[in-house]
């Protein structure tokens, strides 16, 4: 066994001697100089400038992107612009505020810089009127019916109660469609009492109707009672039918 080790060792020594003996014997060709590129990595490119002029436009106007890049193999801008020269300008027409990203590349790496063009979007056109209330506020109010009263009274009669019940539904719908509407609930009297007393009586009639409407769920904070006493007459004959026309509450637009 020991002989085996000795032989192997001798062989290894002989081989080593052979190899070193060969090297010196055969002249090797001059090694190629190592490539410069591979040897020292180049610096990443520099984006000296990347601006949008102006940086804020109205929709439909243009902005100019201007850039200066040094040391890049390839320069590109996103948003569909693509590869560009190392320095240059490009007019853009963004529809909305857009951020442009410039990417400069070379073997040393890539750098990016972004610039944003703010686009002022014009206010949207007035929204189309909701289709439900086809009639104007005035037209809707004109459809409200008057409620009538007995002479020198402000109690709600049966006919007045059905008139006001009808008005209550209409008023709720009006206030739903015209949330900012405020209406006058005018109280009127026939010409027979004194002007002074009728101012008070007209107010009583308006308040009486308001209370009735309130009980039906109408938002009466949107109704303003105004007494016109006997100062505004719809009918001027000295007949009971005409007097009756004047003893009423009447809705009107107004503040």
């Amino acid at each position: 066994m020991r002989k085996k080790y000795v032989v192997l060792s001798l062989l290894a020594i002989a081989l080593l001697l052979f190899v070193t003996g060969c090297k010196k014997k055969i002249p090797a060709p001059a090694p190629l100089p190592p490539p410069v590129v591979a040897e020292t990595k180049p610096a990443a490119p520099t984006i000296a400038t990347f601006v949008a002029e102006p940086s804020s436009i109205d929709r439909g106007q243009s902005s100019t992107l201007r850039w200066v890049v040094e040391g890049a193999d390839e320069v590109s801008i996103n948003n569909g612009i693509g590869t560009v020269m190392a320095s240059g300008t490009r007019q853009v027409f963004p529809n909305n505020t857009t951020t442009y990203v410039l990417t400069a590349r070379n073997a040393g790496g890539s750098v990016t810089r972004s610039v944003t063009v703010n686009v002022n979007v014009p206010p949207p056109p007035a929204p189309e009127k909701p289709p439900a209330p086809v009639a104007s506020l005035q037209e809707r109010v004109n459809q409200l019916v008057d409620a009538y009263f007995d002479y020198d009274k402000f109690g709600i009669r049966l006919d007045a109660s059905s008139a006001l019940t009808q008005d209550a539904d209409a008023l709720k719908s009006i206030f739903r469609d015209f949330p900012s509407a405020s209406l006058i609930l005018g109280g009127y009297c026939d010409p027979r009492g004194s002007a002074e007393y009728n101012m008070g009586l007209g107010d009583r009639r308006a308040r009486s109707a308001m209370e009735f409407l309130s009980n039906l769920g109408v938002d009466t904070s949107k109704l303003r009672p105004v007494s016109y006493g006997k100062e505004v007459q719809t009918c001027s004959e000295a007949t009971e039918s005409c007097y009756q026309m004047n003893r009423r509450v009447h809705f009107a637009t107004g503040n």
Binding site: S194, Y197, R207
Partner: protein, 462 residues
């Protein structure tokens, strides 16, 4: 049972006689009762005066119609006298003291004897005479007052004076007012000349406040608010005018200087209505009706600028037209329907002790205090259809009343003259409402306006 004919005749005669006596008695009682209030205001008997037209010479001639009309209006409207009809006057009218003659026997002097004026048909107690002329470019009026019941001419002349004025209509009116005032002063009264009436007129298209002289002359627009403006109230001294206006959409009160027409500060209560203002005699407070409680129209008081508002009534009824006693300031007349229909009530200035003055029949509105602080005038539909008001006056203490107009249309908003002897009121007796005046006994009814619709008069001392 059979009655003999004579007995039956006798019975019916007796019944008829009883009826006659009863009705006579009622009529007597009625006239006695009504005259009480009128007599209290106008005096127990009104002296009779003869007021012949004065004559003028030269440049004064053309001014005589204005001068005579002014003198007559002043004297007649005062209600101090009964002016005897001119058609009864003698043919010769003395113009100065030298024109009178001492009477001879029982003869008629054709106007130159004093007794020609005291005896039928003139039957006057007093006689005012005189004449006007031009003197150094001015108008001079010689005016005399005679007691024609005085037999002695020397004692009969009450006064003889000269009055100077400019030689034009204004001067003629001025001297006539002065002469009239001197006549009335002898009887403890004075001319209404210089007093004004504020009223509501729609002649511009809107109801606005207007003013005019007591005789209807010089009608002038006071407010230019171009909005329904009504219910004027004048302070007892004539310096402040308050009213109700829709200039801001709802009825609100405004206070103005009656003289300069400048608006005074007044803060309205937060309410759907503030109306029917009334100014106290010290010009420091205002009474008014307001819906400040959000329920009903009640009576309130506040400072003249609206500050310090205080509620006086708590009835929940419709209550308007507060009128403060101009003599005492202690009690307030107002209209309320707390009893069912609008009637006139009286309460203390603090709102206590409200009591109804009118009977409860018909509708009673527009109370107005006589300057005496006892009598009130008001509009009442008693005895007529609703809306057909007549002017009544009532003694607020005894509650006796008398009716001054009788069913000629709608008569309302009475207001007393500063001398308390006349009333101004609105009446539609000729169609549209116009301003009228009358003596406190219902006579001497005169129309003062005719253009547009005119109503709600208040009489100012100046």
């Amino acid at each position: 049972m059979k009655m003999t004919k004579p007995f039956r005749v006798g019975l019916f005669s007796l019944l008829g006689l009883t009826g006659l006596v009863l009705s006579l008695g009622l009529a007597w009682a009625q006239s006695e009762r009504t005259s009480d209030i009128v007599l209290k205001i106008l005096g127990t008997s009104r002296p009779k005066i003869a007021l012949p037209d004065l004559r003028g010479t030269g440049a004064a001639l053309d001014l005589m119609p204005v001068l005579n009309q002014t003198l007559y209006t002043d004297v007649e409207m005062s209600g101090v006298f009964k002016v005897q009809p001119k058609s009864m006057y003698p043919l010769q009218v003395p113009q100065r003291r030298e024109d009178f003659r001492p009477p001879e026997g029982n003869r008629y002097g054709n106007g130159l004897y004093l007794r020609d004026w005291s005896q039928p048909p003139v039957e006057a107690n007093w006689l005012a005479v005189g004449y006007a002329a031009e003197q150094s470019g001015r108008l001079v009026l010689f005016g005399y007052l005679y007691n024609v019941n005085e037999p002695d001419l020397a004692n009969a002349e009450v006064f003889g004076k000269m009055y100077y004025g400019s030689l034009d209509d204004a001067g003629a009116r001025a001297v006539a007012h002065e002469f009239a005032n001197d006549i009335l002063k002898q009887f403890g009264s004075r001319t209404l000349a210089g007093t004004r009436i504020f009223f509501v007129s729609n002649r511009t298209g809107n109801d606005e406040i207007w003013s005019m002289n007591f005789d209807g002359t010089e009608q002038k627009q006071f407010t230019q608010l171009r909005a329904l403006t009504l219910m004027p109230a004048i302070s007892p001294d004539g310096s402040l005018l308050a009213f109700t206006t829709f200039a801001e959409g709802t009825p609100k009160i405004r206070v103005y200087s009656a003289e300069t027409q400048q608006r005074k500060p007044f803060v309205n209560a937060v309410a759907s209505m503030n109306a029917t203002p009334e100014i106290t005699r010290d010009n420091q407070h205002i009474y008014f009706s307001s819906t400040a409680d959000g329920k009903s129209t009640q009576i309130y008081t506040a400072g003249i600028n609206g500050a310090g508002m205080r509620r006086l009534t708590y009835s929940g009824a419709v209550e308007v037209s507060p009128r403060v006693n101009p003599k005492t300031g202690a009690d307030i007349l107002f209209v309320s329907d707390r009893g069912g229909t609008p009637q006139i009530y009286k309460m203390n200035a603090d709102g206590a002790n409200a009591e109804r003055l009118t009977e409860g029949t018909g509708e009673a509105h527009n109370p107005a205090w006589n300057p005496d602080g006892e009598t009130m005038a008001f509009a009442w539909s008693r005895g007529y259809e609703p809306g057909n008001y007549n002017i009544f006056i009532m003694d607020t203490i005894s509650r006796q009343y008398t009716q001054l107009t009788y069913g000629s249309g709608r008569n309302e908003n009475p207001w007393w003259s500063p001398d308390g002897r006349r009333l101004v009121f609105g009446s539609n007796r000729n169609g549209q409402s116009q301003i009228w005046t009358m003596l406190a006994d219902g006579t001497q009814v005169q129309q003062l306006t005719s253009s547009g619709r005119n109503r709600m008069p208040v009489w100012s001392v100046k």
